[in-house]
Structure formats: structure tokens, C-alpha cells
Amino acid sequence: MKRKWNQRALNVLTWAIVVLTLSPVAFMVYASLSDYNDVVTGNMLKASFTPHWSNYREMWVNVDFLAFLRNSLIICGLTTLLSTLLASLAAYALARFRFRGNHAFSVAVSTTQVIPGMLFFLPLYMLYIQIDDAGLPMMNTFHGMIFLYTAMFTPASIWIMRGFFVSIPRDLEDAAVIDGCSRLGAFVRIVLPISAPGIIATASFVFLLAWDEVFFAWVLTSSPDVQTVPVGLRLYMGQHATRYDLMMAAAVVSVIPVLITFFASQRWFIKGLAAGAVKG
């Protein structure tokens, strides 16, 4: 009997934690639907609350947020594709073949995770300017950002994919090769399909990371044709007043793509996390 009550108390505690944890997110949604006058006075929690859906109309007008959203989707989407592709190839090599440089490359891959972004920022900035001068625009372009992000997130993706490939038994490939399939064929036809969960987990991981990148987005882009969501979000802070209501609406909108990504890939993603491959 005592045990049962203990369990009930723990259930209540668990749900209390859930409510407390979600309250900032709930507040973000609440604030995005609040009247601006209530937001600036700080007297927002009202019994007579009526949602101001107009905030979700006005936010696109006050700042051209659609452009930032489009840019983020293009840059992060293509980065995800490229990064996952490059990482799958490289990770397969690292997981399956013993060759000179395998270990060195693996060490290099993990070392990149410890480099402060600032360190390679300026050389890269200078490199981009030099390529610009040579006639190929890199600064403030989609391909400049995609190239950078792909290179930035490929090492972590290699690491995750490698874990998946290692866990796949090699008998299937061996059998395919004996049946006359090339090694590339075995990789494309046999290994990639069974690694789909790993690929999905890696891709959604890259998308989440790319969506969250602020530093390089800030300094390598200068016009709303290319700038991404975090840059746009700040524009709701005016010289004199901050439109917190609209900013929260834009914040909610900017969470939606990653939310969809996460929930769509949750099943595989969580498995990847559990395997310890993805770092939090």
C-alpha cells in the first residue's frame, strides 16, 4: 500500500516537472498571441485573454520574415543533403576498410569538434574575399553559406554514420559482392537502404544544427536575400521599442521547421541518441 502511494507521488512529481519545463514554451506561444499594450506593461497574464491572431499576420509585414525563413530553408536543406551524402561515403570508408590514414582521419574528425569557430572564421573570411576578388562571389551568397555549413557539419555527421555502419553486419555486402556486385553497388544497393534509420537520424541532426547556426550567419551575410532566421529575428528589436509580441510570433514560426523535423524522425533519432552517437 505504501509503495503504491509512493508511486503516485512520483507520478505527480513527474507531471509537475513536465509542466514546469514546458512553461517557457507555452509562454512563448501565449506572448505571441498577446496584445502589444499588455506586453509592454508586463501585465500579460489575464483572465480575459483573447488571442491576437493578427500578430501572426503583422509579423510578416513588420519584418520581411518570409525571406529569412526561405533563406534558412534553402541553406539548411541543401546543407543537410550534401553533408549527409559526404558523411555517408566517408563514414563507410572509415567503418569498413582498413587503409593507411584511417586512424589519422578519424582523429582529425573528432578534433574538429574542439575547434572554436572564431579560429577559422577570419582566415575563411579572407579566403572568401579572395575568391570574391577572383570573380566568383562567395560572401553573402547561398552557395558560400552552404559550402561552409556542409564542411562545418560533415565531421559530426561522419561520426554518427560511422557508428551506424559499424553496427551493420558485413555478411550481406560480402554476399552481394560474391554474387557479382561491385563494392560501390553493394554500398548503394545493400548498405544504404538498411542504414536508412541512421541516415535519417544524421540528416535531422545536421538540419537542427544548421538551423541553429548564428555566428557565421551573422558575419558572412549582409543582405536579406541571403540572411537566415536568427538574423531576421533580431530585427524586431527596434531603435526605441522592441515588438516582443511579433518577435515571439516569429520565434514560434522559426521553431516549426525543426519541430517537424524532430517529430518526423523521432523514432530513429532517439535511437541514434541512445547509441551515444549524437552529442546533445
Binding site: N11, T41, L119, L127, A186
Partner: protein
């Protein structure tokens, strides 16, 4: 298996494991290198070359006058390192000690709190109760929120007059009789720690929960029969099983938090505002200072020192816990 699969059995032999070792000695195998090449090329251009250049930059006198010469700027040896670490007149040095202290406290506090809360909630969720799957999914929500949204959202919530936190603390719960400033003075430190922990612990919870589910229930049953209480079961069964996971996650957390940038950068002020003596971390400070004084040689020097420190930390950590990490995996 058509087009891609029509190579002869010669290639087939090379992957069949028995023949492989023999074959490799005789003939150079280009296949893995081809697979690796695109990623390696990318990393070469965006990681390796800039790092080597970054190291050279840290030895150059690079300021607003010499920036246009870039790599031809005057060579000054280790003067950037000395200036930035010890010279009190150096603008990049200004605020360094405070930011260093904050970064150390911040990474430790965030890591300890996130791991502790993550573990605690994982234990709570590792029971059978109604709505377990829903609770687990809902708890992941903060982690899905991008860090720049976390900074923006909490920056709003911490506002003294418009902020919801003061409103709840003072007007609703009457826990305080006046509204404190959260983004000015020493409170700033908690204003950056709390949102970081809020976002970090759910994913740790998920990782710990997965590890907990791998512990065989019979172990607990046997311990119960032997009269072990809850604490003893946790201490002697749960903790040892989770140790490899905890060791790895603590390391990742410390790396992440030492390089933390987004939350502070988004929370304070319009543009790259000064987060104050207790809100500044190394990465935001470094970025702000290098850009406002155009002193990139010094910026590169500090980055290099940070990287060296982190590499040493990782090496020592791995060495210390090598046993417990490999035993499980």
C-alpha cells in the same frame, strides 16, 4: 542489381574478408580513399587550411592598419599571446579574467545541473505510469527550440518591467517585494545559466533513459531480495551501468558550454551588446573585442589557447576514463 553491379569477381574477392588482407599487401586499394575524398577535401579547405592560417595569424601584428596585408602583416612572434594574456592595457585583454571566471563557472554549473536533472528525471521516467511516452516526448521540446530562440525568449522573460518572471515572482506569487534586475549585475550569471540548463537537460535525460532501459530488471530483483534499499540499488547497479554514458556526455557538455555563444549573444542588447561583468563568456567577449578593435591577431591567439586547453582536457578525460568507456561499448 544492374548497372552498378556488373564488375567482375576480381573486385568481389577484394571485399570477401579472407582474401582482403592478402590482397592489400600486393595492390594499393583506392576505393576507401575515393569514398573519403569529397569529405576530406571539404574539411581541408574549411578546417585545416584556416587553422594553419589561424595559427600563423596569431603570430602576426594584425590590426585595422595591417589587415589589408593579411598574411604579409609584420611578424611579431608570441607578442599577441603575451599581450592578450598578461598586458592590462590591451583592449582584448580587458574583461578577459571576468569572462574566464564566468566561462569556468558557467560550464561547470551547467554541466553538473544538466546531468543531475537529466539523470533524476530519467529515473522518474524509467517506471511504468500513465502517459509515460507522452511525458518523454513533451520533455524533449526545449531541446528542439534553437539556442537563438532560447536566448531571445529568455531575454524577454528576464526583462525587469515587461518580463514574465518578475511578474510571476512579485505580482502573482509575492515571493519578493520589488522587481530585481536580471540582466544587470551579478544576477546575469543565473540569467544565462538557467536557460542553458533548461535546454540541455532533456536530451541528457533521453540518453540516460535509453541506457537505463538496457539494465536487466533481474539485477534489481536480485538486489531487492538481498535486502538492498533504493539508494544501494542506485549506487551499485544503476550508476556503474550509466558511468560510460555519463563520462562521455559530461565531456560533450563541457566542450559545448566552454564555446557557448548563441544564448549570450541573442539575450543581450541590440547588436553585440555588452552582457556585463557577470554575463560575459569567452566566445562572446572574443568576438566582440576582435570585431570592435579589429585586432584579429590577438583573437586568433586566444582561440588557439582555448583550443589547446580543450584538447588537453579531452585527452586527459579520455585517458582517465578510458577503462569505463570501453568496458561498456
Amino acid at each position: 542489381m544492374s548497372a552498378l553491379c556488373e564488375q567482375g569477381p576480381g573486385l568481389a574477392a577484394s571485399i570477401a574478408s579472407g582474401a582482403r588482407t592478402q590482397r592489400r599487401r600486393r595492390k594499393f586499394d583506392a576505393f576507401p580513399y575515393l569514398l573519403l575524398a569529397p569529405a576530406a577535401l571539404m574539411m581541408l579547405v574549411v578546417n585545416l587550411v584556416p587553422i594553419v592560417q589561424g595559427f600563423r595569424m596569431s603570430l602576426l601584428k594584425l590590426n585595422q592598419y595591417t589587415l589589408s596585408q593579411f598574411m604579409d602583416a609584420p611578424y611579431i612572434g608570441l607578442r599577441n599571446y603575451r599581450g592578450v594574456l598578461f598586458d592590462t592595457d590591451n583592449p582584448v585583454h580587458a574583461g578577459m579574467l571576468g569572462a574566464l571566471r564566468n566561462t569556468a563557472l558557467y560550464s561547470l554549473l551547467v554541466t553538473v545541473c544538466s546531468v543531475a536533472i537529466g539523470l533524476g528525471v530519467a529515473l522518474l521516467l524509467n517506471r511504468d505510469f500513465p502517459g509515460k511516452a507522452a511525458a518523454r516526448t513533451l520533455l524533449m521540446l526545449p531541446w528542439v527550440v534553437p539556442t537563438y530562440v532560447v536566448g531571445t525568449l529568455w531575454g524577454f522573460m528576464w526583462q525587469r518591467d515587461e518580463g514574465i518572471i518578475n511578474h510571476v515572482l512579485v505580482d502573482v506569487l509575492h515571493l519578493m517585494d520589488h522587481k530585481p534586475f536580471w540582466l544587470i549585475g551579478s544576477n546575469t550569471f543565473f540569467a544565462i545559466v538557467i536557460p542553458t540548463v533548461w535546454r540541455a537537460w532533456p536530451v541528457l535525460m533521453l540518453i540516460f533513459l535509453a541506457a537505463l532501459q538496457a539494465v536487466p530488471e533481474e539485477l534489481y530483483e536480485a538486489a531487492r531480495l538481498d535486502g538492498a534499499n533504493a539508494w544501494q540499488r542506485f549506487r551499485n547497479i544503476t550508476l556503474p551501468t550509466l558511468k560510460p554514458v555519463i563520462v562521455i556526455q559530461v565531456m560533450f557538455q563541457i566542450i559545448d558550454n566552454v564555446y557557448s555563444y548563441n544564448i549570450v549573444a541573442m539575450m543581450f542588447g541590440k547588436g553585440a551588446g555588452y552582457p556585463g561583468e557577470w554575463g560575459d563568456l569567452l566566445m562572446p567577449l572574443l568576438t566582440r573585442q576582435s570585431f570592435s578593435y579589429w585586432r584579429f591577431g590577438e583573437g586568433a591567439a586566444v582561440s588557439f589557447v582555448m583550443m589547446a586547453v580543450m584538447l588537453v582536457f579531452v585527452a586527459v578525460w579520455m585517458r582517465t576514463f578510458r577503462r569505463s568507456m570501453t568496458s561498456e561499448a
